[in-house]
Symmetry: C2
Subunit: 296 residues, 2 copies
């Protein structure tokens, strides 16, 4: 399989779906919708939606009616970036190579653009199109898993822990908890959403959850590495921001070389989790390697 | 019916449910959960949850399994207050007679407390308890209606319009749109959630929606009046804030006397919408009058 081609094609599918399902700038709400669209269409890698789609494919499912869910995952991810970048939070001016939302639209509208995207994600998760590919009971289970993953015990909680830990000396276990909540939970939930949609058996669901947790871990370790080794140009966000904020990271704990080994181990564990899946899981396997090799 | 007793009892039921379903302060996430609880348990009137419960009652439904939904509506309302009060938004220091979230926990944690409550609301809307009282298809329909009501074309969009209109001269139609989105949508959705849970017929659903829209309107008109006539002590928030911000309001358009007449007309229209409901709808009728007569 030519993975680059796959990635480009899937990315295009997600872009088209976002364009189809997202509100358009018109009427009195044009400014608000413009702010939401500005960050949503800022050239993200669309990893979470692609993970959901690839997981459903690995289970031999037709993914058309999963597309609103895939879009919802990207709306959630985008909302989290907008709020993380706010002056009161990480105070970042640059994201995906463009000025951040609050720089362009002001702080108030940036907060609301995030709130709007988060609410809109749940419109998409309950969109009538989704029901054509999943039973209502499973749809509710899927929404529940996603809500838990991004809430106080997941992504939002992780961001709160991350802010509280800034400048503090924290044990490695605490760093693992922050990473798991802040980044790992939504990545795992994206895989789980695809698994539920693809009618995974209990065993398959458990294996895919392990896969999701391991690539979530790999993703965050590589993020830490890129902050040390990447350039602002490649990253599209400020390089060295973790170091300058004195943040606890994998390289700070273990050094760069050992951290790379750990990222590789997480990817290996993710691949092992997929050992009983057939060739339809190739995109998932390639995505695990891609997360390790990416440079932004 | 003794409405005051009913209100006190229902309020207690909601408080107990919130205490039951809300996360408790423990473990590493204690600060985040503390911030969510601080605003959630700050003595709100619980009008939205009570409206949902009273609507289901009006349809002769057993409301026990609607309680997580009722709590979700209050979480959403509370999140919207926390974000509205932020320095970048209305910059209010006082809410329900207590310092606002950002004053107590700082701006970053206030933003996250709001985000956490919004996400948690969808955990509650998909809570297993709810499924015991509603079909999964109707549950999804209910979540979809709520998500729409609070998203870019509802509450969040209304807040964006409200901010954009500050200090501007806007036509009355635009004020109506702002009010309808910002306040009316969630109040109407609370009634609709109760209606779906109570298995309303199409006619009943339409009538209850009309009721919801009219009390939503009355609620906002009275809010405008209280800002002029109320005291900071009664309101628990800064009186005269609209006037000092030069905000478009009903009294600014029509004067106090005419505005009172309009609020009364909205309540009358709400009562008319309920004409084909029996005595089980008495609490809904009393709630409409209460919204008109309240002083905070």
């Amino acid at each position: 399989m030519e993975f680059k081609k796959y990635l480009t094609e899937q990315c295009a599918v997600v872009e088209q779906s976002l364009a189809r399902y997202m509100l358009t700038e018109q009427g009195p709400l044009a400014i608000h919708i413009k702010a939401m669209r500005y960050s949503l269409f800022a050239g993200g890698k669309r990893i979470r939606p692609i993970l959901a789609l690839a997981t459903a494919e690995a289970l031999h499912a037709e993914t058309k009616h999963l597309l609103p869910v895939a879009c919802a995952l990207e709306c959630i991810h985008t909302y989290s970036l907008i709020h993380d970048d706010l002056p009161a939070m990480d105070n970042d001016d640059l994201r995906r190579g463009k000025p951040t939302s609050h720089v362009v639209f002001g702080e108030a509208e940036a907060i609301l653009a995030g709130d709007g995207l988060l609410s809109f994600a749940f419109e998409l998760l309950t969109h009538p199109d989704v029901q054509q590919g999943i039973s209502p009971v499973n749809q509710i289970r899927m929404i529940n898993l996603i809500a838990k993953a991004i809430g106080p015990e997941g992504m939002v909680g992780g961001q709160s822990l991350d802010l509280a830990a800034e400048g503090q000396t924290i044990p490695f276990e605490h760093l693992k908890l922050i990473h798991g909540c802040k980044t790992g939970a939504l990545i795992t939930a994206s895989v789980q959403a695809g698994a539920i949609f693809g009618k995974a058996t209990e065993e398959q669901f458990a294996a895919l959850t392990r896969y999701g947790m391991q690539i979530g871990l790999a993703f965050q370790i590589v993020d830490d590495l890129l902050d040390v080794e990447g350039t602002t140009k490649d990253l599209g966000k400020t390089a060295g921001a973790d170091v300058s904020r004195n943040k606890a990271t994998y390289p700070a704990f273990f050094g760069v070389a050992e951290t790379k080994v750990m990222a590789g181990e997480a990817v290996d564990a993710a691949l092992t989790a997929l050992e009983f899946f057939d060739a339809k899981a190739e995109p998932l396997r390639a995505l695990a390697r891609y997360i390790y090799e990416r440079n932004n």
